[in-house]
Homo-oligomer: 274 residues x 2
DNA sequence: ACACCTTATTCAATATATAGAATACTATTC
DNA sequence: GAATAGTATTCTATATATTGAATAAGGTGT
């Protein structure tokens, strides 16, 4: 690469790094294109994609053609614009069919969101990178806290992040590096955060009081997929709501209920796999 | 490729062809792997994937590692098995957000499934290859006809296929070749089918009386996304139900309602894009 | 505990996917 | 309507992704 891109958008920095390491760079490019098309409000032309991701036009064109052939991307020959195609639904359907966690959490989320008037989430923890919301239940009374199935968050953020830091078995250094990359509404200091992680380890669940989103309290409890709890927790059950309202409705009770639900789920998942 | 695979499963034939043509074969491989993992009831090891798809182990390993890095595939280090990861949900969510057809059809599907006691589908027609179910409404009274969001079908099958054949503007030869590859419960002859396609063109909707699935009648009407109807229809509204029951409940009325709904949707979609 | 078989992973040679320039096409401005 | 600017696409040399063999790791049965 001779000429440095004008505005290396952070995203394309990460992409560039992945490309060098990988033995299948076309796949990283394809993933980047798919995510970009997902984010975009409108269909995009080749040039727009190239600019945003810092790719070579010809290469990008081949990637797009392959994705069109695989029915993951739709191409409008008139406007020469690309967008996501319905093919991505097929993969999601298959994932949902095979996933026992979603089936098991859903009724629990419904129960808890009703009982405590909060928004409940079930999330998959993919690794140190991201967690993904896989199930949602809204209480209906409170106004809609925007969190949809499929949403991705940085793994160490908010209450769930404290759980992962506490139980993931990662090194201090690694956690610190990742912590520094996080974006919060009201960031805790590293010291504060480490204390909260320690507390999470002690009490078995994590709490975020307005750090991630001002005024919003988040409580999360980890769920493992194997009985002996090796490695990091694979899932979490999460409750979110307006801080003041949650205090009124009994935060301690909610925390207890959440913890008990998470433990039950861990048992159910673990039993399945033995 | 020196040694011919023992059981070239038809799927891997198609894959092999795509690989030769494409300038980004890694993407075709990745797509094949994702679809295989989707179909599979259990997580798969490298060897199993290699065998099924006719790939080279080392290459396949690199593909899998890239897909794991992109969070589309989950890897269990203990069992060394691969499965779909929740990341695929994220793409599906984005597709659903941006898609106006799904939003527009859903209430119509609900209305019609109630009124006629049938299972209603909204489908995307990707091209001559596949159509994909993107919205469903069950009447609840009849037993569940299995059709889920994300399901893929060959584009020319059943009633929707007759619509595509009638209005897609494809050549006789191309249609005939594709027709011969279709699998029906009770296949029509090519002559019969051509007649039915002709009729579909005349009346504006297609009907399948037990050809695709014995005893099940399917009615489909095409929906275009542009006002002037160039190219092939992008979507269809589909009604399915037990043949005898549909006759009892008034097939002509259903056909009329379906056609009118499809026309309204075409107008709404067309108006949007002008 | 050993040998055997299966499966995963690394490694080095080469076929080829990729980058960059050249070309064709489309839209816009004067 | 010609000229211009922007975009998509083709073309070709070369860096590298892919291959097939070699190695390592894991599991199974005796």
């Amino acid at each position: 690469m001779t000429t440095r891109s004008k505005h290396s958008s952070g995203e394309d920095r990460k992409l560039a790094k992945t490309l060098k390491e990988s033995k299948a760079p076309a796949i990283s490019r394809a993933a980047a294109v798919l995510r970009l098309l997902g984010k975009s409000e409108t269909p995009l032309g080749l040039q727009a994609i190239v600019r945003e991701l810092g790719l070579v036009p010809s290469t990008c064109l081949y990637v797009l053609r392959a994705l069109v052939a695989e029915e993951f991307v739709a191409f409008d020959p008139d406007t020469k614009r690309y967008s996501l195609e319905a093919g991505v639904l097929t993969l999601a359907r298959h994932w949902l069919r095979r996933n026992q966690f979603t089936d098991l959490v859903q009724p629990e989320l419904d129960r808890l969101s009703q009982a405590f008037d909060v928004t409940m989430l079930g999330v998959n923890i993919v690794g140190l990178d991201h967690m993904i919301v896989v199930a949602v239940s809204q209480s209906g009374n409170n106004f809609q806290l925007s969190a949809q199935i499929g949403s991705r968050f940085p793994a160490l953020i908010s209450a769930t992040g404290r759980c992962l830091a506490a139980f993931g078995g990662y090194s201090e250094d690694e956690l610190e590096e990742r912590f520094n990359a996080l974006r919060w509404d009201d960031p805790p200091t590293l010291e504060d955060w480490k204390g909260q992680v320690e507390q999470t380890r002690a009490q078995g669940f994590g709490v975020d009081k307005g750090n991630y989103i001002s005024g919003v309290t988040v409580v999360a409890a980890p769920v493992w997929k194997t009985r002996g709890h090796p490695g990091h927790p694979g899932h979490a059950v999460v409750a979110t709501g307006i801080g003041s309202a949650m205090k009124r409705n009994g935060l301690p009770q909610l925390q207890k209920a959440l913890l008990s639900t998470a433990r039950t789920l861990t048992q159910q998942l673990g039993g399945e796999s033995l």
